[in-house]
Assembly symmetry: C2
Homo-oligomer: 226 residues x 2
DNA sequence: GTATGATTAAAACAAACGTTTGAAATAGAA
DNA sequence: TTCTATTTCAAACGTTTGTTTTAATCATAC
């Protein structure tokens, strides 16, 4: 466990991970069978159980392969921001960029499967498969804790509940940004479409910051104090 | 079609629709078996095929039952707005409210299953099941066409591509708003949570409008004209 | 009452599912 | 080479899947 990663190429292992990632995006977990995966990976049906133990373990491996790195990168950038600020509160826009920018940056990588994975992740946010939710919650625990804390500190005058919800809204916008316009607007006047991935990040960023900075809703509706 | 709705109660039919709706939210389409559905509905296994023909047809029926009404309501409100304006361009905030407000209004109805259905719908936006996507695209065609057109007219100085994307982002925020904070933030400092559904609409609305009105991103990145 | 059409019920269907098995193939070290 | 550990392979395992079938039950009109 503490030893170095295996020097073996694990060719089929990686082929299975790639195939599974791609198929999960397209058909979901339950909609993707072992035979579809091993077929697309040019591997034997038993290979998944041999290399990963079970289908559920494969799902976890698909996520862990990239999600851990993504969240580590996010934390590293937040660390850098805080170090540069030297104790002073951060600019909210920087925090938002550190969290959502890294995600979109990974989603822009069409060469190494980053885009595929981020589409899968976006799709899985709303997934309710029991152990996938649990796994994601654990995998995200530290990141959400740190970033929410940073936002709380950066916006001390804004109620925390409001920040929490807006962070949630921003996540939803990001998820849809990554999923793309595909399909839903095909029948509408789609001549306006422009899915240049180069432009997606600035597009999303200004939307997110606009939403984050929006005037607070009228609190007169309910009687709570928060 | 033009005749009056059947006077028969179709008791089991409705029980099946309710059970399927609830189970689809929790386990997805592929994760929900006919036996789970008929079991929860206290109906015989063959009842689904008798009343709907197939599982796929049942899925469509679950959506059609409520989505048609929701979109009709949306269109009716847009009609009303345009009639009141008498040819003048509409306020973007009103358009946004007409589209997303009706959805959230339906999502607030916990009594008649509206909340359950809207959670299913939010979950299904990212679903890629072939015929479900096709079905949703058709079901949404007129609505997106009308509302996007209204936004184009209301914001003539904003590039249409920008409006289209922001509409997409708003949809993502709404989807997550409806899905709720569940799970993902449990391990973070959740003491700030406040999921009073009464407050959700104003919360989301100010976020959406903030995003819609945000300054446009720097277009200097790419060389296109749009 | 009996006859008729709609609904429910229990049982079975082939197909597909995730997983396991035990032998064949492969690779690297001695 | 020979030995040993790893990986691949074809085949089969028992379940579960969506659907169909055939008979029983129900409601209602005559």
């Amino acid at each position: 466990m503490t030893a170095a990663p295996p020097t073996v190429a694990h060719d089929t292992r990686d082929r299975i991970l790639d195939a599974a990632e791609r198929l999960f995006v397209e058909h979901g977990f339950d909609g993707t069978s072992m035979r579809m995966i091993t077929g697309a990976a040019n591997a034997n049906l038993a290979a998944v159980n041999y290399h990963f133990g079970s289908k559920d373990a494969l799902v976890q491996a698909v996520f862990r392969r990239r999600l851990t790195a993504l969240n580590r990168e996010r934390l590293a950038e937040l660390d850098r921001l805080e170090a540069d600020a030297g104790g002073a509160p951060l600019k909210p826009s920087r925090i938002v960029e550190a969290f959502f920018g890294t995600a979109l940056h990974m989603a822009a990588d069409t060469e190494h499967g980053g885009r595929t994975f981020m589409r899968l992740l976006a799709r899985t946010y709303n997934e309710s498969n029991a152990f996938v939710r649990q796994f994601l919650a654990e995998e995200y625990a530290e990141v959400t804790d740190r970033f929410l804390g940073a936002l709380f500190a950066a916006l001390p005058e804004v109620p925390r509940a409001e920040i929490l919800w807006r962070f949630h809204f921003m996540t939803g916008a990001m998820a849809f940004a990554i999923s793309g316009l595909g399909g839903l607007y095909e029948l509408a006047d789609i001549s306006a479409a422009d899915d240049n991935p180069q432009r997606l990040l600035p597009r999303l960023m200004s939307f997110l910051l606009g939403g984050l900075r929006a005037p607070l809703p009228d609190a007169a509706l309910a009687g709570a104090r928060n």
